[in-house]
Every structure is written in C-alpha cells, then in structure tokens.
C-alpha cells in the first residue's frame, strides 16, 4: 500500500493488515504447544516440541514482516513526528510494565527472606510456626537446609557473594557479568552518539562491541548455571533460595537474550545504513531496553548476590 505522497501533517493510520491476527494465532499455538509439552513430560511422556516451534515460527516470521513494513513506511516518510512520539510513549510504558513484572519476583524474594523464612525458622511475628511445625529448621539466608529437607534437598553451596576481597582472583562470575553488562550499557550509548554524529563506522563498531559484551554475559550466565547445577548442587528444586535465584536471574537472562536479539537486528539495520540522527527510533527503543535490563541486573547483583 504505497502512499502517493507523504504529508508530515498527517498522522499515518495504516489501513489494515494480516500481521496482528497471525501473531495472535502464532502466540496461541506457541503457548499451548509448550503447555502440552510440559503436561506430557509431567505425565511421564516424552513431550513434543513441534507445535511450540510451529507457533514460534509463525510468530517470528510475521513479526519480521510486520516490522519490515513499519520500517518501509517510515522510509517512505509516512511516519511523522507525532507518530514517532506515540512509539516513544509506547516503548516507555512497555518498559514500565516489564519493571512491574520483575517487581513481582523481587517481591517474592523480599517476602520470602523477610517473612516466610524467619517464621519457618521460629523468629518474628509468627515464630510459633517454626517452633511447633519445623523445630529442626533455622532461619538463615541463603537457606541451605530446607524445612523439609527430604522433599526439597537444600543446596550444597549458594551463590552468595564471597565478599569484595574475593571478587577478583579467581574472578567471581556475577561480578564479571556486572562489569560486562555495565560496560555494554556505556558502549550502546556511544553507538547512539555515533548516530547523532552521523558516524556510521563508529556506530557499527560500538554496537558490535555491545553485542560481544552482551553475548559474553549470556555465555558466563550459562557457565554459572552449569557450575551451580554440577558443582554447587543448587537447582530449581533446592528450596526457596534456588527458586528465587533462578527465577530472577533466569527471567533477567531471558530479557538479556531478547535485548541482544533486538540489538543484533539493529546491528544489521545499521549495516544497511538505516539510521539518521533524527530518525532512529528502532535503535533507541532497543537501547532503552538494554539500559533497563542493565539496571535490573544491578538490582539483582545487590539483592540476589550481595545482600
């Protein structure tokens, strides 16, 4: 639907399109496929990923066309300043909703540490719980021995920070990851500055470095998980410590993966010469997301590892 002429005084309303419905269909197939897989495995079966991947493919391919279309419309000059402001509001409040998603998990961590574990350990306002029902359990964080250690075998070791003095040799992975991610936030900012200065080489370089840092983060995160599972005995089923640890770092890791993926796309767009100083919303959205992921990590590092 190419427009004859672009008028910047006009708020562009796309006529219609098949993308959204198909995205919804893909999402539905994906989640129900995943659900069937999980239920099958729980029932002792092998589970099949076919439906999940079908849905994911539909979703991904359609989103690709969708965004390609939006980029194309933009390059035709259909998107005026006001529409771009809509995008900015949209992305901004989307990130806010993500903050609240993390808030649920941080809330769980906070509640478990401050209330649940103390009560189960016979301290605080409901100390009778621990005294009467779990006399052998004592409150500590990280929780190494669970109230019912037969049902939920506690970890052998936790991920808690060994103290700043021991962060360097051998390097403490979460600390290394903090450095990597903080650095990547800075480099993505340099890339943004490069767009403003219309310096494509610098843009590509800094964005490339950001990506390397991002993927390095993910690599070490996986390393850390392997280490936790194989050497520390810290698993998802190690009780509340393992539960909160994995859901927070895992959900964050998932976001880093998404962020890195989105930045990769921006990287290819940069290679194709897409961004202009006043017209780089796709890049900016990706970079805000990346900064957000970074801030979440800092909170994680403080609340999950250090405190």
């Amino acid at each position: 639907m190419a427009n004859a002429k672009a008028d910047p005084s006009i708020y562009f309303v796309p006529h219609n399109g098949w993308y959204p419905v198909v995205v919804a269909l893909g999402a539905m197939l994906m989640v129900t496929g995943f659900g069937s897989y999980l239920n099958d495995v729980k029932g002792g079966g092998d589970g099949s990923w076919v439906q999940f991947y079908t849905g994911l493919t539909i979703l991904a391919v359609t989103l690709f066309f969708w965004f390609a279309k939006v980029i194309e419309e933009n390059s035709q000059g259909l998107a005026n300043a006001q529409l771009k402001r809509s995008y900015v509001w949209g992305m901004g409040w989307f990130i806010f909703s993500e903050v609240m998603f993390f808030a649920a998990f941080f809330g769980a961590l906070f509640y478990a540490r401050v209330f649940a574990v103390s009560w189960l350990g016979g301290e605080g306002g409901k100390a009778m719980t621990g005294d009467y029902l779990w006399p052998d359990f004592s409150a500590e964080w990280p929780v190494m021995q669970n109230p019912d250690n037969a049902l939920f075998q506690g970890p052998d070791q936790s991920m808690a920070s060994p103290g700043i003095a021991n962060w360097f040799a051998p390097v403490y992975l979460p600390f290394l990851n903090t450095v990597l991610l903080l650095a990547s936030s800075v480099t993505v900012h340099f890339a943004h500055t490069a767009i403003k200065n219309q310096d494509r080489t610098k843009l590509i370089t800094w964005l490339g470095i950001t990506l390397v840092l991002g993927f390095a983060f993910l690599f070490f995160q996986v390393e850390e998980y392997i280490h936790a599972y194989q050497e520390l005995g810290l698993t998802l089923s190690s009780g509340i410590y393992g539960s909160t640890f994995y859901i927070l770092t895992g959900f964050h890791g998932f976001h880093v993966t998404m962020g890195a993926f989105i930045l990769t796309i921006q990287f290819f767009r940069a290679l194709k010469g897409h961004f202009k100083p006043d017209d780089c919303f796709g890049f900016e959205a990706a970079s805000w997301y990346w900064h957000f992921v970074d801030v979440v990590w800092v909170c994680l590092f403080i609340f999950v590892y250090i405190l």
Binding site: G17, P20, F101, F115, N146, G239, Y246
Partner: protein, 536 residues
C-alpha cells in the same frame, strides 16, 4: 506535559474508501471503531457464557441437596464464571468503549497504535478459547476459584491448569498492549486546545485505569509464572516444605487483584460522569475534585490488598494498616457520589434509559460500597469473610456497578455508533427488569452470608434455603432481561429511527459534533475545541 499538541488528523491512502468487505474487515482491521465493535460483541458473548455458568450455579443452589451437577463441576463453574466475567466480559467491554470513544472525545483520527490495537483484540478470542476448552479436558478445567490460591492451584490442580496459566499470560499481554495504546492516544493525540483538564471524565478515568493495568497485569503474569514453576520445575515458592509460603501467593495475587477491581469500576465512574450531566442539563459538579478523587482511589488501591486476607493470620500491625487504608477509600469514593448528586441537584432532569441505568448505578454501587466498608472492619470481616455477604458485596459493585454502567453507555452512545435510536419503551422495560432482577438476586445474599453460608459450596444447610431460592429466581429474571437487551440492541441497529447528530439535547463533547453514525475516520482534520464541548 506539553500543552501544545500539534495533533493532525490523518487519513491514509484509503481514507476516501470505507471499510473492507466481509470477514477481512474484522480480522485485519486497524480502525478504532471496528475494533471497538469487536471488543463489545466479544464481551457480550462472554457475558452470556459467564452468565450461563452463573445460572448453572444458581440452579444447583435453588434448593438444598445435589441435583444437577457434581461438586467438582460446580467448582469449575464458579471459577470460570468469575474469570470469564472479570477478564472476558467487564474488562473487554470497557476497552471496547475506550476504543470507540477516546479518539472521538479527544479529537484524534484513530488510536495511536492501530496495528497493535488489532493484536490486543485478537489475542482475546484465542486466550478464552484456551480457557474454555480446559473444561473439556481430562481431569476438568480450573476448579480453584478465580483467585486460584496455591497449593490448590498448584500441587493439587488438574493438569489443565497449565493451559489456564498460559491463557492468563495471553490476557495479560492483551491488556498491557491495550493500555499502552490508551495512554499513547490520550497523551499524544489530543486536538489542539484539548488540555488535560478539559478532557471528558471518561477519558480521565481511562487514563488512570490504563496506568493501573500497566502496573498490575505484569504482577499477575509474574504470579502465574511462579505457579508454572512450582508445578513443572520443582520450585517451592508456595510450599513451606521448601521455605516458601502459600500465603505469599495471596499477597502477590491481591497486589494485582485489588487494583483489578478498581480497573473494573473507574471507567464506570467515567461513563456515569458523562451521562448524568447530559440528562440533568447541567455541567458536572466538581470536575477537578472528580479527577483528584479518581487519582486518589487509584493510588490507595495499591496499599489495601491484604483486606482480602484478614483471616490468613497476618501480624497485628499489618491487619491494622490494611484496615485503615481500606477505610480511607470511602472518602474519595464518597466525593464522587456527592458530586453526582450535586450535579442532579437543581438540574432539569429527564429519565431516558441511559439516565435510569446511571441513577441505578449510583444507588446500587453505593450500597455495594457500604458493604465494602463493612468488610473493611477487620474484626467484623472475620465473620463476613468467604461467606455470601462478600458475594453480595462484590456483585453489587460489579453487576449494577460495572455492568449497569456498560449498559448505560451502550444506550447512550449507540445512536452515535450506528446512527439509529433504540426504542425507548423497550429500553425502559429492560431497565426495570434488570433493576428488579439484580436486587432480587443479590440482596438476599447479604442475609444468607450473615446467617453463615460460606461461598463456593454446591450444597448448603437448611436454614439458608429461602434466601437461595429467592436469589436463584432473581438470577433467572436478570438473565432473561439481558437476553432481552440483546434483542433491544439488534432491534435498534436494524429498525431504529434515524438519530440526530447531537442525539441528546444536553450532551456536550466532541463526539456529538460528528454525524450519526460517526464516519469511519473520525476527525480527518483536527477539530476546534470550543469551551462548550470541553469537559462535559
């Protein structure tokens, strides 16, 4: 917030064309009116399905004994009734109204992000398809109440809970995208001169509702994700044996759940604040304080959640805090009620169907609010909690509250949407049937609750029999009158008399400056916002 908004109405390459033909129009549409229509019909269908489940419940409770359904099916009915009414009927209806009205009210060409708008809608049929299909799965559908407390919903749940969890994720995604769209539209698309404090109250209430949604839907998604992990990945968030706590589930759930109930009432406040001034032919009393009251209610809604959990055994300080905070909500809500009444005071009132529903809203919602206040008194809540007194409370705020406001909105704006008037006599009949039905259904539930009847039971002791029979009769009257409503609406769309542009002589607002029916693209050119059309 910049007040200089160079909104320019738009038209796309097809602006001189109308909508597409056939199914494609509805599947692929990016038009806010089409999407609004889809939302409204979808929500009405869900209302009938949820209502049929309510009728199953009421039929079983017509008299003591187990006559029609087995207890496990009864629980599935209760659960799905609650979920479908909340997420399928009320919320989408308000989103539908937002879609139809917000762009017209602020003088915009469409919603800010039209394609995403279509996506928000089309996720819903899939999500509810998943949810309803769980009823036919082996082991049955969700049977743990719409509040799905762990561990009944985790360790002890039927397998279908996995699909339920994903359905909730999808609904959450839909709501989040919907509210982002509303926010972007309101903040970015207002016509020149439409300053924030000139916006119609319906727009204001929706802006605040959208923020509530953005803040709490992700938390709901978070809590169901934790359930998923407890069920499938061996975590112990809600299991004390592993250092977790089932009560933690409730805290996180109600952090979402309480704001959620205001999500279902704030837009209703908006609707009523549009309708009453029109038929009183008098400007809304206390516009500014209305806006501040809505904002205060929204703020307070984040710090009262544990009033649903007075019996879980929180420490005393917590109980007191949540009691005081909850009681406070009566103050801004009272401000709203007083303002509506002052708007009527010394007006020049007429009582067309929308006004009747709006007045009934004010009365019956207030009664529901009063019982809410009684529930807030912690020591008394020990007696009320999880009895039919609570059921009576929330149906008073939800049915003659949220649902009546939606019905009022439909009567009020339908002429604008389809260009035809509904039949006033039929509308009045619908009103009186509904008014009587709703009170006969839910008023007796106060008494059965006080007499000690717990909720979510398929069978009950003999002393509750009379009230239950009355309540069941009322439910069938009310149910019938909503089927009648469908008839009234279809009659209006197909045979109604042509409507004038302004429709109601007392109506103010940009939407009434458009022809009836409103053109496919509302404001191709940004309208001039005169004082007469602002903050009606």
């Amino acid at each position: 917030m910049s007040e200089v908004v160079e909104t320019h109405a738009g038209h796309d390459d097809h602006d001189h064309h109308g909508p597409d033909k056939g199914l494609a129009r509805w599947l692929f549409t990016t038009n806010h009116k089409d999407i609004g229509t889809l939302y409204l019909w979808f929500s009405f269908a869900m209302f009938l399905i949820g209502g049929m489940m309510a009728l199953v419940i009421r039929a079983e409770l017509f008299e003591p004994g187990l006559q029609f359904v087995a207890p496990e099916f009864f629980n599935q009915m209760t659960t799905n009734h609650g979920l479908i009414m909340v997420f399928g009927a009320v919320m989408p209806a308000f989103v539908g109204l937002a879609n139809w009205l917000i762009p017209m009210m602020v003088g915009a060409p469409d919603m800010a992000l039209p394609r995403m708008n279509n996506l928000s809608f089309w996720i819903l049929p899939f999500a509810f398809g998943i949810m309803i299909s769980t009823l036919f799965m082996e082991g049955g559908g969700p049977n743990f109440g719409w509040t799905f407390y762990a561990p009944l919903s985790t360790t002890y749940a039927p397998d279908s809970v996995t699909y339920f969890i994903f359905a909730v994720h999808l609904m959450g995604a839909s709501s989040i995208m919907g509210s982002i769209n509303v926010i972007a539209t309101i903040l970015n698309m207002r016509a020149p001169g439409m300053t924030l404090m000139k916006m119609p109250l319906f727009v204001w209430t929706w802006l605040i509702t959208a923020y509530l949604l953005l803040a709490v839907m992700p938390v709901l998604a978070g809590v169901v994700t934790m359930m998923l992990f407890d069920i499938h990945f061996g975590t112990s968030f809600f299991n004390a044996a592993g250092g977790g706590d089932p009560v933690m589930f409730q805290h996180i759930f109600w952090f979402f759940g309480h704001p959620e109930v205001y999500i279902m009432i704030l837009p209703a406040f908006g609707v009523v604040s549009q309708i009453i001034p029109t038929f009183a032919r008098k400007p809304l009393f206390g516009y500014d304080s209305m806006v501040y009251a809505v904002a205060s209610i929204a703020f307070l809604s984040f710090i009262v959640w544990a009033h649903h959990m007075f019996t879980v055994g929180m420490p005393l300080a917590g109980q007191l805090f949540f009691m005081y905070a909850t009681m406070l909500i009566a103050v801004p809500t009272g401000v709203k009620v007083f303002n509506w009444i002052s708007t009527m005071w010394r007006g020049s009132m007429t009582f067309e169907t929308p006004m009747l529903f709006a007045i009934a809203f004010v009365i019956l919602f207030t009664i529901g609010g009063f019982s809410g206040l009684m529930l807030a008194i912690t020591p008394a809540d020990y007696q009320y909690h999880d009895t039919y007194f609570v059921v009576a409370h929330f149906h008073y705020v939800l049915v003659p509250g949220a649902i009546f406001s939606i019905i009022a909105a439909v009567y009020y704006w339908l002429p604008k949407w389809c260009g035809r008037m509904y039949d006033e006599t039929l509308g009045k009949i619908h009103f009186w049937l509904s008014f009587i039905g709703v009170n006969v259904t839910f008023f007796p539930q106060h008494f059965s609750g006080l007499a000690g009847m717990p909720r979510r039971i398929p069978d009950y002791a003999l002393q509750f029999a009379d009230f239950n029979m009355l309540s069941s009769i009322g439910a069938f009257i009310f149910g019938f009158s909503q089927v009648f409503f469908m008839f009234v609406v279809i009659h209006a769309i197909t045979r109604g008399k042509k409507a004038t542009d302004r429709v109601w002589d007392g109506a103010h607002g940009l939407e009434w400056t458009l022809p009836s029916p409103a053109p496919y693209h509302s404001f191709t050119h940004p309208p001039k916002v005169s004082d007469a059309e602002a903050h009606s």
